[in-house]
């Protein structure tokens, strides 16, 4: 049987094929990626869309968690200062209620308690990065002096709370409005202090005693409210751990989808180099072969 005498197309195709394999292997080694365009692996490319979005979100949630954590810690430490002010007010009130104080003394104590009230209001107006921690969702300064108010201060914020996303379906409450913590109708912290001031100024021991008890119960009320921040903090901490794991999971998923195993890629490259050399060597041997090489030139 006659065979195709023209082996050039076949040789060219072989060389081209081995060149393609070489280029692919080289690209995989140099980029570390198996998939650089959708047709390389349509399924992996599609799955990467979701992976990329989740990775971006997880990065942002991690940042959110740290922002939230610092807000919560600031709020908690503000409340802790408030508690120590109140504790101080209780001891001053107890001292004022013992009936052994001169009017001048009581006035001095009243001034001290008034100072504590100012300090508590200062804590209630704490702001972080321009937003008030206890103003609800309002951007107005929560408490401003108001002589017409019984406490001497009026609340300008609102009763709303913000929740910040720290996961696809996880959000954490980051604030308590001042109207709930400091000027609640049933447990008004500011009013308890200002009542104590009034009682001290009036000098009535019974009133001072009652007002001091009210401040004590305000301390335990603040303590209850701090639980909200405590649980938010532990929620954020737990979420941070989850986000760290999720980052690792997503990165490993990404590597599985479009990454290339370096050892395999290196072996493939070296295999492709060998194949390419073999194809070239074969071409070099076969191409110049012809009967003419073996015929002596006509004399």
């Amino acid at each position: 049987m006659r065979i195709d005498p023209n082996n050039v197309p076949q040789i060219l195709a072989d060389m081209q094929q081995s060149q393609v394999s070489l280029n692919t292997a080289l690209q995989q080694v140099s980029t570390g990626k198996r998939v650089t365009q959708p047709s390389d692996d349509p399924y992996a490319s599609a799955a990467m869309v979701q992976n990329t979005i989740e990775t971006g979100d997880v990065d942002q949630y991690t940042q959110n968690a740290s922002t939230v954590l610092s807000n919560i810690q600031s709020a908690d430490s503000a409340l802790s200062s408030v508690v120590s002010s109140l504790t101080q007010a209780v001891s001053l009130g107890t001292e004022g209620a013992n009936g052994a104080n001169s009017t001048a003394n009581l006035q001095a104590i009243a001034t001290q308690v008034q100072g504590l009230l100012t300090s508590v209001v200062g804590q209630a107006n704490t702001s972080v990065a321009g937003s008030y921690l206890f103003g609800g969702t309002s951007t107005a300064t929560p408490y401003t002096a108001d002589p017409s108010s019984p406490t001497g201060y009026t609340y300008n914020g609102n009763n709303d709370v913000n929740s910040v996303a720290i996961g696809d379906s996880t959000s954490v409450q980051v604030n308590l409005p001042g109207s709930q913590i400091f000027s609640n109708s049933s447990n008004n912290v500011l009013a308890s202090l200002s009542n104590l001031v009034t009682a001290l100024q009036s000098g009535n021991s019974t009133d001072i005693g009652n007002a001091t008890t009210a401040v004590s119960s305000a301390i335990s009320y603040i303590g209850q409210q701090r639980v909200v921040y405590g649980s938010a903090e532990s929620q954020v901490n737990a979420q941070e751990t989850f986000l760290q794991q999720d980052t690792v999971t997503l990165a490993s998923q990404q590597n599985n989808l479009i990454g290339v195993d370096e050892a395999t890629a290196a072996v493939n490259l070296s295999q492709a180099e060998t194949d390419n050399s073999a194809a070239l060597a074969a071409a070099a041997k076969v191409l110049p072969n012809s009967l003419l090489n073996f015929l002596s030139a006509p004399s």
Binding site: M1, I3, S45, A47, V49, T52, G56, D57, D168
Partner: protein, 460 residues
């Protein structure tokens, strides 16, 4: 019994025959690398024997002609496979161009911008009053709209490239069919005169080969040469007559292919560059475009609905974030951000400027199912999968047909291709034959001299 002259005549015929065979060999060697050339072999036949005085002697040799060695069936198979491959190649080239717009490495694709948009919303959740966080949502929203626009324009430009290819290819087809019809006439004249088609047939087959790369054709042999039609039977060449295809702008703004009677045959054209370009232009790209438009419309609607649930930084009800053209066919190309100021983002759920209550709704618009049943990310991922697998299929198909084609060409080569080694051998063979024939003439000449000089004293 013949005389010396008979021998001389036989020698001369042998010289002529060898001369013709040497011509064939040298022509084969000369055309060893000519595309479409089919090797020719000399056809010798014995002459009628001479009967003289009861003795029969041979009558020498005649060169009947040169015969091209070709296999028509293989040619047909090669033409079919060429059509298929060239169609797959055309689709593959176009899809390679298209898929770059869906590749995440471009950095300006919808997936990357969707990620940035989603992150910017998550950031806004933590810092709702930060102007830079608001600005970042607005600009990443604009980037996302731009990514939709550029993907849509990428598809549209690939579609218009394919449309341009239709016009060009039809023009090339018409040029080729005219040439083929002319050669077809010449070949049928030769064959009806009992001669081999030879190089004319080679040329015609080569042109038919080129034609089949342009569009799928069906070829039948008839008494007046080949009849070439498109796959659905529209005649292109019948005998020595060619029928031109025409193009005209259709209602969709693209070039439609008409047969010589003005019938629209666009949808029935398959294979070849023309079939591939029409497939990409009328089926593949519109499919992607429609998915993209659906996604753009549904995403914008869903995000605008989330925006409407809240209040902007000035306490006004949220207005539409994205604006999409009313005609959904232009949704992806025309989607844009309607807001002009970051303060218009509906962050607040209660109207106060510090609230982030509506951000959760905005973020949810990115993760909730659209009316299509998929989240925006999944709907886009489906599209990426479709584009990727179409590109991968077209290139796999092209490779597979390519291998098949190469095998057929090897078979054809084994029948028709010129082997230089074989021709070198033939050269030696015919050289020897020519030498020997020349020796006959020389010998007869000497014998004639001897005969004429009989009795001459000067001889010997």
């Amino acid at each position: 019994m013949g005389g010396l002259n008979t021998s001389l005549l036989i020698g001369m015929q042998a010289l002529d025959a060898s001369q013709g065979a040497l011509d064939a060999t040298s022509n084969n060697i000369a055309n060893a690398n000519t595309a479409g050339y089919t090797r020719e072999v000399p056809q010798f036949s014995e002459n009628e024997e001479n009967l003289s005085g009861g003795v029969v002697t041979g009558g020498g040799v005649t060169l009947d002609g040169l015969q091209s060695v070709r296999d028509e069936l293989l040619n047909l198979q090669i033409q079919q496979q060429t059509s298929l491959q060239s169609g797959a190649d055309t689709e593959s080239t176009s899809l390679q161009q298209i898929q770059s717009f869906f590749s995440a490495s471009s950095g300006n694709d919808i997936s990357t911008q969707l990620t940035a948009f989603s992150s910017s919303l998550a950031q806004l959740s933590a810092t709702p009053t930060s102007t830079s966080a608001q600005q970042s949502v607005l600009s990443s929203g604009q980037d996302l709209a731009n990514a939709f626009n550029s993907t849509a324009s990428g598809l549209a430009s690939a579609q218009s490239d394919a449309d341009g290819q239709v016009t060009q290819t039809v023009a090339q087809i018409n040029t080729l069919t005219q040439q083929i019809a002319q050669l077809n006439g010449q070949v049928s004249q030769l064959t009806s005169a009992g001669q081999d088609g030879g190089t004319t047939e080679d040329q015609r087959d080569e042109l038919v080969q080129q034609l089949s790369a342009l569009t799928g054709v069906s070829i039948t042999q008839s008494s007046d040469g080949e009849t070439i039609t498109t796959g659905n039977g529209t005649p292109l060449v019948v005998g020595s007559q060619s029928f031109s295809l025409q193009t005209t702008t259709g209602s969709n703004g693209f070039q439609q292919v008409l047969d010589s009677n003005g019938n629209n045959i666009t949808s029935s054209i398959q294979g070849g560059q023309l079939g591939g370009a029409i497939q990409v232009r009328d089926t593949t790209i519109p499919g992607f475009m429609s998915s993209l438009n659906t996604l753009a419309t549904q995403f914008a609607t869903s995000f605008n609905a989330a925006q409407a649930k809240g209040f902007d930084s000035n306490g006004n009800a949220g207005q539409a974030f994205f604006s999409v053209p009313a005609n959904s066919a232009n949704a992806a190309a025309g989607i844009s951000v309607a807001l002009t100021n970051p303060s218009q983002i509906a962050i607040s759920s209660d109207g106060s400027s510090g609230s982030n209550g509506n951000v959760a709704n905005l973020s949810a618009a990115l993760t909730n199912d659209l009316p299509s049943g998929d989240t925006p990310a999944n709907a886009y991922a489906n599209l990426v999968f479709q584009v990727g697998s179409a590109a991968s299929n077209a290139s796999t198909q092209s490779t597979a047909i390519g291998q098949n084609l190469q095998q057929l060409q090897t078979q054809q080569g084994s029948v028709s291709a010129v082997s230089v080694d074989e021709e070198t051998t033939n050269l030696l063979r015919y050289q020897t034959a020519y030498d020997a024939a020349a020796r006959i003439v020389n010998t007869i000449q000497q014998l004639n001299t001897v005969t004429l000089d009989l009795g001459s004293s000067e001889s010997f």
